[in-house]
C-alpha cells in the first residue's frame, strides 16, 4: 500500500455552526430527566444519560469529542475489564481507498470472515458477520440467484464451485447514505462509508436500500467475550456496538488510516485480496484496475462501488 504511515493526527475539524443552539435545546429537553435522576444517580445512570444525549459525531467540537472519547474509553474499559482505546482518526488527505478481490484465487475458506469478526469486535452471540462468502457454480457464473451463503463442506474449494466474498462496497454513490432519515451514516473524504452508532435510530432503511446485503442490524444485545475484545478501536469503526443499531464493514479504518492493510487482506491465505489508494497511479490497486478484467457488482444501479472483482489467473 502506498499511503504513508502517518504520525498521530489532530482530531477532525467538526462543524461548529448551530451547535450551541442545538445543545441548548437538547439539554433543555432532557434537563428534567437529568434532574430527576441526579437524586439517586449511580454511575451507570450517568453513563446511560450521557449515551442518551450523545450528539451527532459531526456536531462535536474538538473538546467535546475528546471528552466523549474519554467517556467511552472509561465505559468500555470497565465493561471489558481491560484498557480500551477509542480514537477518531481522521482520513488521510489525498487518499481514496479502493479494494480488489481476485475471484480466480479465492477458495472460500472464510478466514476473512472470522478475521474480520475478531478485528472489528462483531458480536459472537448472536453472530454478526460483515463479510458474506457466496458459493456459486462455475458453470453458472456470477448469478446471485444460485448463490449459497451457507455452504458447509469438509474442505474447500468444492469441485465445480467458485467463491465470491461480499461486504460493504463503499460506493461513491451510496444508496444507504441517501435514505438515512437522521444522517447517521455518511461517506468520508477517503471514500469509507461510516456509521455513527450513537446517532442511528435503528429504522433499517439503509438495510433496505443497500443492494449488497452489506449492512447488519443488532437484533439482540451484541456480546463479545472479554478476552476476545480488540481494545484498539475507532469511534466510527470497531468500537463495541449497542443493541438496535446498524453496523457494517469500515475497511478497518483503525488500521488503514494508520497505513496498515485491512484485516481481511492480512489473513487471506491465497492473496486474493488487494487494497490501496486509488489516487496513487503507482499503487497495486491501480495496476489491477488498469490491467486486469475487473467488474463491479450490480453496475446498472449506478452505486459506483470502490470494490472491484477480477480474474487474476
Amino acid at each position: 500500500m502506498s499511503a504513508e504511515p502517518t504520525a498521530p493526527l489532530p482530531v477532525p475539524q467538526p462543524q461548529t455552526e448551530g451547535y450551541s443552539r442545538r445543545e441548548a435545546l437538547v439539554m433543555g429537553l432532557f434537563a428534567l430527566a437529568a434532574a430527576a435522576t441526579t437524586a439517586g444517580c449511580s454511575a451507570a445512570d450517568k453513563l446511560a444519560l450521557d449515551d442518551f444525549v450523545a450528539k451527532h459525531f459531526r456536531d462535536l467540537t474538538p473538546d467535546e469529542l475528546k471528552d466523549r472519547l474519554a467517556q467511552l474509553e472509561k465505559k468500555y474499559s470497565e465493561q471489558y475489564g481491560k484498557s480500551v482505546k477509542v480514537s477518531a482518526t481522521p482520513p488521510i488527505p489525498g487518499v481514496l481507498f479502493g479494494y480488489a478481490l481476485d475471484l480466480s484465487r479465492c477458495i472460500g475458506c472464510r478466514r476473512c470472515v472470522y478475521g474480520c469478526v475478531d478485528e472489528n469486535n462483531q458480536s459472537r452471540d448472536p453472530q454478526t458477520h460483515w463479510i458474506t462468502v457466496l458459493e456459486m457454480d462455475k458453470e453458472g457464473g456470477v448469478n446471485l440467484q444460485n448463490a449459497d451463503a451457507f455452504y458447509d463442506h469438509e474442505t474447500v474449494p468444492a469441485p465445480g464451485k467458485f467463491y465470491m466474498p461480499v461486504a460493504c462496497q463503499h460506493c461513491e454513490n451510496p444508496p444507504c447514505v441517501k435514505v438515512c432519515p437522521v444522517e447517521a451514516t455518511w461517506k468520508e473524504p477517503d471514500g469509507i462509508v461510516v456509521i455513527d452508532y450513537d446517532w442511528c435510530i435503528g429504522c433499517r432503511s439503509c438495510i433496505s436500500a443497500c443492494p449488497y446485503g452489506a449492512r447488519h442490524f443488532n437484533w439482540g444485545t451484541p456480546s463479545i467475550p472479554k478476552e476476545e475484545l480488540n481494545p484498539v478501536t475507532e469511534y466510527l469503526g470497531n468500537r463495541p456496538r449497542q443493541r438496535g443499531v446498524v453496523e457494517k464493514c469500515s475497511w478497518c479504518l483503525q488500521l488503514t488510516r494508520n497505513g496498515l492493510y485491512p484485516k481481511c487482506v492480512e489473513v487471506c491465505p491465497v492473496g486474493a485480496r488487494k487494497f490501496g489508494n486509488l489516487l496513487d497511479p503507482e499503487s497495486e490497486i491501480r495496476y489491477i484496475i488498469e490491467n486486469k478484467r475487473v467488474f463491479i457488482l450490480k453496475e446498472e444501479l449506478n452505486t459506483q462501488p470502490k470494490f472491484f472483482y477480477y480474474y487474476g489467473l
Partner: protein, 409 residues
C-alpha cells in the same frame, strides 16, 4: 365563561360522553380493546428488554409485519379523507355530513402508523434525532424523513379540524367556514402525499426490483381507495343501527360506486405489473415467484395469502361492479369485508416480504411474523380502535343526539 374554563368543560364533558351511556355491548367492546392493549404491553416490554430479536425479522428480511401494517394504515388514513373530495369539490351533501368521521378515522389510523413505526425502531429512545432543531432531519434526500414530516402534518391538520368541529358542536355554535374549509382543502393533497411519499419510501430503492416500479405509488392510492371506504361503510351502517347517527342510503351507494372504480383501477394496475414481470421474465421475477408459489422447490409460506388476497379482490370487484349486488346490504357488506382483507394482505404481507425475498445476495429467508409481532400489532390496533370508538361516540352524541348533553356542561 373564560376560554380556559370552556376548554376544561369541553374535555370533561366529552370524556363523560365517551365513557358513559353506552349499552352493554359498548362496554364489552371497550373491554376487549383494553385487553388487547394490555397483552400487547407485555409483549412490547419483552421486545424492549431483549431487542428486535424477539421478532422474526433478520438481516435478510429486515422489515416485516410492523412496517406492512404501517403501510396499510397510511392508506386507510389517506382514503378516509379522500372521501371528502366529492363532498367539497362537488358540494355533494349526503357525504358532507359524514366527512367528520373520515377525519376521525384518519386521526386514529395515523396514530396507529406512528405506533407501528415506534414498535419497529431499534432505538425508539432516539426518536428525537428526527426532530428538526435538536436532531438531524436528513432533508431533502431521505424519503423516510419526508414521510415523518407529512404524516405529522397530516395528523395535526385532521386532529385540528375534527376537534374544532366537535368543539363547536358541543357549544352549539356554528363553525367558522373560513377556518375549516381551507384546512379541509389542504388535507386533500396531504392525503395524497402521505400515501405517495410512503410508496416512494419503497419505490426509490433501486436495489429492490420488486418495489422499483413507477406504478407503485398509483397502486398505493388505488388500493387505499378500496380499503379505507370499506371500513367507513361498515362503520356507518353499525352507527346507523346502534345510535342516532343518520346517513342516507344514497350516500352509501355513492361511496360504493366510487369504490367499484377504485377496485377496477387497482386490479388493472396489478395486472400491468404482473404482465411486465412475467412477460419480460428477467431475474427480477424471483420476487413474484416467491409471492405466488415458492423458490428452489420450497413452497413460500405467504403464497396462500397472496392467492386469497387476489381472489378476494376479484370477487369484491364483481360484487361492487354489478349495481344490484352493490346496493343490496348483504352482498355489499361481504364485498367490503373481502376488499378490506384483500388490501390488508396485499400491503401487510405481499408488499413487504417478497421485496426482501430472496435478499440482495439471493438468499431465501422464509419470514413469518413471531408471536411478539402479532401481539404488539394487536395492541396497536387496540389503541387505534379504542381512540376511534371514543371519538365517534362523542361525535355522534354531539352531532346527532344533541339535546341535553350540552346543557349538562
Amino acid at each position: 365563561m373564560s376560554f380556559i374554563r370552556k376548554i376544561s368543560n369541553f374535555v370533561t364533558g366529552t370524556g363523560r360522553m365517551a365513557l358513559l351511556g353506552g349499552n352493554r355491548w359498548y362496554y364489552v367492546w371497550l373491554a376487549v380493546l383494553v385487553a388487547c392493549i394490555v397483552q400487547a404491553g407485555f409483549a412490547y416490554a419483552h421486545q424492549y428488554q431483549y431487542g428486535l430479536i424477539s421478532t422474526n425479522m433478520r438481516d435478510s428480511v429486515s422489515w416485516g409485519f410492523y412496517i406492512g401494517n404501517f403501510t396499510f394504515l397510511v392508506g386507510v388514513a389517506a382514503a378516509a379523507v379522500l372521501l371528502v373530495i366529492p363532498a367539497y369539490v362537488y358540494d355533494w351533501k349526503p357525504i358532507k355530513e359524514v366527512a367528520l368521521f373520515g377525519e376521525l378515522l384518519a386521526v386514529a389510523a395515523i396514530i396507529m402508523c406512528l405506533l407501528f413505526v415506534m414498535a419497529d425502531m431499534g432505538r425508539p429512545d432516539r426518536f428525537w434525532h428526527l426532530i428538526p432543531g435538536i436532531g438531524h432531519m436528513h432533508l431533502p434526500s431521505s424519503i423516510m424523513a419526508w414521510d415523518s414530516v407529512v404524516l405529522n402534518i397530516y395528523l395535526i391538520i385532521n386532529l385540528s379540524v375534527a376537534s374544532y368541529l366537535v368543539y363547536c358542536g358541543y357549544y352549539g355554535i356554528h363553525y367558522n367556514r373560513k377556518i375549516v374549509v381551507p384546512l379541509v382543502i389542504l388535507s386533500i393533497p396531504m392525503a395524497v402525499s402521505i400515501h405517495t411519499v410512503t410508496a416512494f419510501l419503497y419505490n426509490g430503492m433501486a436495489g429492490r426490483p420488486y418495489w422499483n416500479s413507477a406504478i407503485l405509488a398509483p397502486r398505493f392510492i388505488a388500493s387505499a381507495f378500496c380499503s379505507g371506504p370499506a371500513l367507513l361503510l361498515i362503520l356507518f351502517q353499525i352507527l346507523r343501527k346502534v345510535s342516532a347517527f343518520e346517513i342516507k342510503d344514497e350516500a352509501i351507494h355513492k361511496v360504493a360506486e366510487l369504490m367499484a372504480y377504485a377496485m377496477a383501477f387497482n386490479l388493472f394496475l396489478f395486472g400491468a405489473e404482473v404482465f411486465k414481470e412475467y412477460y419480460s421474465d428477467t431475474h427480477h421475477l424471483v420476487h413474484y415467484e416467491y409471492l405466488f408459489s415458492g423458490l428452489h422447490g420450497k413452497a413460500s409460506p405467504i403464497a396462500p395469502y397472496a392467492w386469497i388476497s387476489l381472489a378476494f379482490a376479484v370477487i369484491s370487484f364483481f360484487l361492487f361492479l354489478i349495481p344490484k349486488t352493490r346496493r343490496m346490504p348483504l352482498t355489499m357488506n361481504i364485498g367490503c369485508v373481502l376488499i378490506y382483507f384483500s388490501v390488508y394482505i396485499e400491503k401487510g404481507i405481499a408488499l413487504i416480504i417478497p421485496g426482501f425475498t430472496p435478499d440482495q445476495l439471493g438468499q431465501v429467508y422464509a419470514y413469518v411474523p413471531s408471536s411478539t409481532e402479532l401481539r404488539v400489532a394487536a395492541g396497536v390496533f387496540g389503541v387505534g380502535f379504542l381512540l376511534f370508538t371514543l371519538m365517534v361516540k362523542v361525535s355522534v352524541a354531539i352531532l346527532f343526539e344533541r339535546g341535553d348533553q350540552a346543557a349538562h356542561a
